[in-house]
């Protein structure tokens, strides 16, 4: 992993500040269209997938860390886990060819909602733009949650609640169903930037910010993504793969492979910030020999 990937999040705040400072005061920038993803940010995590025990740059709680330590990738072979789409906060991070379109009220020609479709597992979202309230607490939670949007200058700001329990990183680091997702969709001509901020009072100690980018691709064709679960591994009914605490021998592989101080791989809010590298140096906790 490139060292720059070790400090995820901080750059995003700076980017947001820089981007918003440059916004014109008028003109909503309709994000509708076909968008092809770019993976220059966090590519190793997003495409090959994160490594076991890589919690770098994640402002996680101790509870989230234990969830990650206990997670066994074999869980995903269970039929009931196979067809899960990424939730709204993670979907844009994957193979995310993106389509955005408007829903317009015929009579008034007012914008009711934006809809989005993402290629992997084909999740679709609705971002309500008509001022409707969020559902009551006892309403069902969904993978994509319930989203409402508003314009802030030419930036579309979206608030999402009612998310199912999901994941911050695809190696078992969870995101709770009490989280709120705040997104800023920013279009600069043929470029689209999403600034995504997860607020999770359960498994995060600080808001977690990521940025993701697309380029307009008017000729993009998104294939269907049907999913049918199958029995991949014969197991006793109800078996749930996981590691008992203290038994996950894979956790040490990630810091060893990349020459990282083991405690850095454990994540936590301080690992988001550049000062953390100075702290490691000052403490003399250099990386183990590779």
């Amino acid at each position: 992993m490139h060292p720059n990937h070790r400090v995820r999040g901080t750059g995003g705040w700076l980017l947001l500040a820089a981007v918003t400072a440059c916004l014109p005061a008028v003109a909503q920038r309709d994000p509708s269209g076909e968008w092809a993803p770019r993976f220059h940010e966090d590519q190793p995590e997003r495409i090959p997938g994160p490594e076991i025990g890589d919690y770098l740059g994640l402002p996680i709680t101790d509870a989230a860390r234990l969830r990650g330590d206990s997670w066994d990738a074999s869980l995903l072979t269970l039929p009931e886990h196979q067809c899960k789409p990424h939730p709204a906060d993670y979907g844009p991070r994957g193979p995310a060819n993106l389509r955005i379109w408007q829903e317009i009220d015929k009579a008034t020609q007012q914008l009711i909602a934006y809809h989005t479709h993402i290629s992997w597992q084909a999740p679709e979202r609705t971002i309500w733009m008509d001022g409707r309230p969020h559902p009551p607490e006892y309403a069902a939670h969904t993978w994509q949650g319930f989203s409402t949007g508003k314009w802030e200058g030419d930036m579309l700001t979206v608030t999402t609640t009612h998310l199912k329990i999901g994941w911050i990183r695809r190696n078992g680091i969870p995101r709770s169903d009490r989280a709120t997702l705040i997104e800023h969709w920013i279009r600069h001509e043929n470029y689209l930037t999403l600034v995504s901020i997860v607020h999770d009072p359960v498994y995060l100690t600080e808001p977690f910010l990521r940025t993701t980018d697309w380029v307009m691709d008017a000729d993009q064709q998104i294939a269907p993504y049907p999913c049918e679960s199958v029995e991949e591994v014969e197991r006793p009914v109800g078996a749930v793969p996981h590691h008992l605490p203290g038994t996950n021998t894979f956790l040490s592989e990630f810091p060893a492979r990349y020459g990282l101080a083991p405690q850095a791989a454990r994540g936590g809010a301080e690992t988001m910030y550049p000062e953390y590298q100075l702290k490691l140096k000052a403490a003399g906790k250099s990386a183990p020999a590779r």
């Binding site: 709680t61 989230a64 886990h81 006892y138 939670h141 329990i165 999913c227 109800g238 078996a239």
Partner: protein
């Protein structure tokens, strides 16, 4: 759930609910079925041309509010009440709501014993619910006769056909209690689980009434087997939990995974010969406590761990 407080006052310290402030909210689910929220346990309401079927009745003190909510949905009579288990936050409204309903009768029944046979809705439950409700609880007043189930079953399944759909009552042995039932509305594709599934807290294992963590895990796996999600592992079969929000299979899977992992951790500790106090000190629920745990109230994380430990310690 909070019914444990009422049924076993003194054993739990949570203050009594403020019934005056409770409000009934109606959430249409799908097909014939709606969910009533806010008065103790969730209540499933199936409505159609034949009348009203209720799964659970909430607290006794809020039965009037439940009846008023039903009347906003339909003017048809309450014909059936199905109790998912014995606790009074699920059965408390039996007496009043059953009296406000009527049973469909005819033929020899009415001819032989008169029109009174049709008075009151039928109350269906597993026979262990009747046995538990009939048994005296120390320090508690006897449950009124009119609140008791009128129609019990002993096996694993009892079927009804009502409002043009099959209604399957599925008994689960030794789980939340020893008298638990789930109710599956087959055409509407909605499953009411009672307290076998409570997504906002660790499951309450009422050991004194025959509960066991293994039974709850078995029930959760049965729910997963019965339910079929729609596209993208979402929707399809909707699940009304005993408490908390409307759910679907994916929510049950998350909960089943949690409970299985905790069960496995406690089991591994038992196999090492650890005592209950040692198991508690090892914090086998640590990563799930922010989601499901409680340090105060009538069902704390400590009590949950103890119930899991004791469940697994029982000789088979």
């Amino acid at each position: 759930m909070a019914g444990l407080l009422l049924a076993a006052a003194g054993a739990f310290a949570q203050p009594a609910p403020n019934f005056d402030q409770m409000e009934v909210h109606v959430l249409p689910v799908q097909g014939n079925v709606s969910m009533l929220v806010g008065v103790g346990g969730n209540i499933a309401v199936q409505v159609g041309k034949d009348g009203v079927l209720l799964v659970d009745t909430g607290y006794a003190q809020t039965a009037d509010k439940v009846y008023a909510a039903i009347r906003k949905i339909t003017d048809k009579p309450i014909r059936y009440i199905i109790d998912t288990h014995v606790h009074p936050d699920h059965t408390g409204g039996n007496e009043k709501l059953a009296k406000l309903g009527s049973t469909i009768t005819g033929g020899n029944v009415v001819g032989d014993i008169g029109q009174s046979a049709g008075q009151g809705a039928a109350v269906i439950a597993h026979e262990n619910v009747l046995a538990r409700m009939s048994a005296a609880s120390p320090g508690q007043p006897a449950i009124p006769f009119d609140a008791l189930p009128t129609d019990t079953f002993a096996g694993a399944i009892k079927n009804l056909y009502f409002n043009e759909e099959a209604v399957r009552i599925l008994h689960v042995a030794a789980a939340h209690t020893d008298g638990d039932s789930m109710v599956y509305f087959r055409r509407s594709d909605v499953l009411a689980t009672g307290d076998l599934f409570t997504p906002g807290n660790y499951p309450i294992i009422d050991l004194a009434r025959g509960g066991n963590v293994q039974g709850i895990i078995a029930a959760l796996n049965q729910i997963i087997g019965l339910s079929v999600p729609a596209e993208k592992q979402e929707g399809g079969t909707y699940i009304i939990p005993g408490h908390g929000r409307l759910c679907d299979q994916a929510d049950v899977v998350e909960y089943r995974d949690m409970l299985t992992i905790i069960r496995d951790r406690v089991q591994a500790s038992l196999q090492k010969g650890m005592t209950l106090e040692q198991v508690k000190a090892s914090k086998p629920t640590f990563d799930y406590d922010p989601l499901y745990g409680a340090s105060t109230g009538f069902w704390t994380t400590d009590q949950f761990v103890e119930a899991v430990y004791k469940s697994l310690s029982l000789k088979k």
